[in-house]
């Protein structure tokens, strides 16, 4: 067994917890982990693979949530096409963002994406109140109606989310090894050289940013249906901050790391919020300590430990 398989194994255990534990315990938590993982996996394509720090992903996530909610509730669309539309709209908003933001890089890119997403957040609470329900949001977002299964039961909805999650993970894995993924690695490593050997850097960056927006839109739609609610909080910059923390904590640039990051973040959020009302501050503190202590995240730490306890394992 190599370290990569060990990580896959850990992820498998976490996401199959409801099947392993008696009475499907932990299903609520795992459902949230699956959804945030889809978001984080997509985010890491931009952050970990292409090396662009976006602080605007809340916009694609929130817009996806509103899209699914409005299409199912106001337009009477079925769930699946609405979920597809959530992805499309998330990707479209990301594409628009990318036209503004990709001209600049580094910190300016982060700030520009942040500003654009806050613009959408503010609009959702004010100008678009008729559509979005303003600060109250929209309650009563439905779940899928498929094969006569009652997805309002969390145990059943788990299987639906698991299927979407596995699909998202597979696609991300394929992108990483595809020519696109390789080109993005090159851009992250040395943009000048990548451009000089003939990669259309801006177009490749726009592409991955859009794909990442699709992931975020789908995840946002799924979260709205999980909690039966969408509100402007999902568009707030702190949602972008959460996904950055999750990915950093788990290990940016790795396929499984972000999922581990999400799991730990969600478990801590769940546990800490029952202990103290300052949980978000404490979470931030833990995060800072962790990133200083393990710059490659949990995935990096596990791989390091694994190499140490299996002498000659690297062959």
């Amino acid at each position: 067994m190599n370290a990569q398989r060990l990580l896959a194994f850990l992820v498998a255990i976490i996401i199959s917890a409801p099947l392993l534990l008696p009475d499907g315990q932990g299903v609520g938590l795992v459902n949230a982990i699956l959804i945030w993982s889809i978001f984080a996996i997509g985010f890491d394509l931009v952050f970990g693979v292409a090396g662009m720090l976006s602080f605007g992903h809340a916009a694609f996530f929130g817009v996806g949530a509103y899209t699914l909610s409005l299409l199912t509730m106001r337009m009477g669309w079925d769930f699946i096409p609405s979920l597809g539309a959530a992805g499309v709209v998330g990707g479209a908003v990301a594409l628009v963002f990318s036209y503004f933001a990709i001209r600049v890089s580094g910190l300016f890119f982060a700030l520009l994406t942040l500003a654009l997403s806050q613009l959408i957040y503010i609009m959702a609470g004010t100008k678009l109140r008729m559509l979005t329900g303003g600060v109250d949001g929209i309650a009563g977002v439905p779940r899928p109606d498929l094969f006569g299964i009652d997805f309002y039961d969390d145990g059943n909805y788990y299987f639906f989310l698991l299927a979407v999650f596995i699909l998202a993970l597979l696609i991300s894995g394929l992108i990483r090894i595809s020519p696109l993924g390789q080109a993005l690695r090159a851009i992250k490593s040395n943009e000048v050289r990548a451009e000089q050997i003939g990669f259309n850097v801006q177009r490749l960056q726009r592409s991955v940013f859009t794909i990442s927006g699709i992931y975020a839109g789908v995840a946002g739609g799924l979260l709205a249906s999980l909690i039966f609610y969408v509100g402007p909080q999902m568009l707030h910059w702190s949602t972008s901050g959460d996904v950055v923390i999750m990915v950093l904590l788990g290990g940016m640039g790795t396929l499984f790391g972000p999922i581990l990051g999400v799991a730990i973040f969600e478990i801590m959020r769940e546990w800490l919020s029952t202990q103290t009302s300052h949980w978000y501050g404490i979470l931030g503190l833990i995060f800072i300590v962790c990133t200083i202590g393990m710059p490659k995240g949990i995935a990096g730490l596990i791989m390091q430990l694994w190499d140490r306890i299996t002498p000659g394992g690297k062959s």
Binding site: S178, P179, Q182, A183, A186, Q196, I197, G198, N200
Partner: protein, 254 residues
């Protein structure tokens, strides 16, 4: 085929100027590069040699003038488009994918060249071609034994060779080499000159180099820059005798 006055140009710049604020790093430069010749570009530090290369390869914006490659205007094209059009280059400060292996570096350059307009998905059959391209250049630049070494841990000289290899994979017609010999020892420099000669056979090359002996020896034509302008150009013997060059540059160096 070494044409004389009849040979048409492959690269041409027309009254180009690059300015940073009020400062003109390159100005008044009009030049025609003929196919298959090696041009040595010399001039003191800060003369604008690198900036001229940036202007030709699309990294510096022109405040004036036009650039043509094979009679197509490329003035407004971005660097990657110029690479597609046949313009390769290496950099004064080595630009490689340092934390990837030598082979991965070359494979990426091969991929960028082969996949161009379909960079996302491609028939699996093509992947073999990419690896073949990379392997071919790997032996051309003599780094077979370092194929799986991280590029960042290569010796300086080998990194420069890798840079040339990366440029070659885009099958350029014109190659811009910015001080490929700088900072390498005497023996390595000799080998590097031999490498440059061998791989640039038939290409048009613009080479920036400070070592006069080397430049005079390998260049078909020499261009001397001073304060952003071309001071003189011509064959080695003519340049050596040019009084302006002697006072402005040669005298200063040796």
């Amino acid at each position: 085929m070494s044409g004389t006055s009849e040979a048409k140009h492959v690269l041409r710049c027309e009254d180009i100027e690059v300015s940073y604020g009020a400062f003109k790093a390159v100005t008044n430069v009009t030049y025609e590069f003929k196919p298959g010749l090696l041009y040595g570009l010399i001039g003191p530090n800060g003369a604008g040699k690198t900036t001229l290369m940036n202007a030709l390869s699309g990294r510096a914006r022109l405040s004036k003038g036009r650039v043509f490659l094979n009679d197509h205007e490329i003035t407004k094209q971005s660097p990657h488009a110029r690479t597609w059009a046949g313009l390769g280059r290496s950099f004064q400060i080595t630009q490689i994918f340092a934390e990837m292996t030598v082979f991965e570096n070359l494979r990426l350059a091969a991929q960028a060249h082969r996949f161009r307009l379909q960079p996302f998905w491609s028939p699996v059959g093509k992947f073999r071609e990419i690896a073949n391209d990379a392997e071919k250049v790997l032996s051309e630049i003599g780094l077979e034994n370092s194929a799986h070494v991280n590029a960042g841990s290569l010796s300086h000289g080998d990194q420069r060779a890798l840079e040339i290899g990366l440029a070659l994979l885009s099958e350029p017609k014109v190659l811009l080499l910015d001080e490929p010999l700088a900072g390498v020892g005497h023996d390595v420099a000799e080998k590097a000159v031999e490498l440059i000669r061998r791989v640039t056979e038939g290409l048009t090359v613009l080479l920036i180099e400070h070592n006069m002996d080397v430049v005079m020896e390998i260049s078909d034509e020499i261009i001397v820059m001073l304060a952003g302008e071309i001071l003189a150009s011509g064959e080695a013997e003519t340049i050596k005798r040019d009084p302006r060059v002697r006072t402005a540059y040669l005298g200063e160096e040796e």
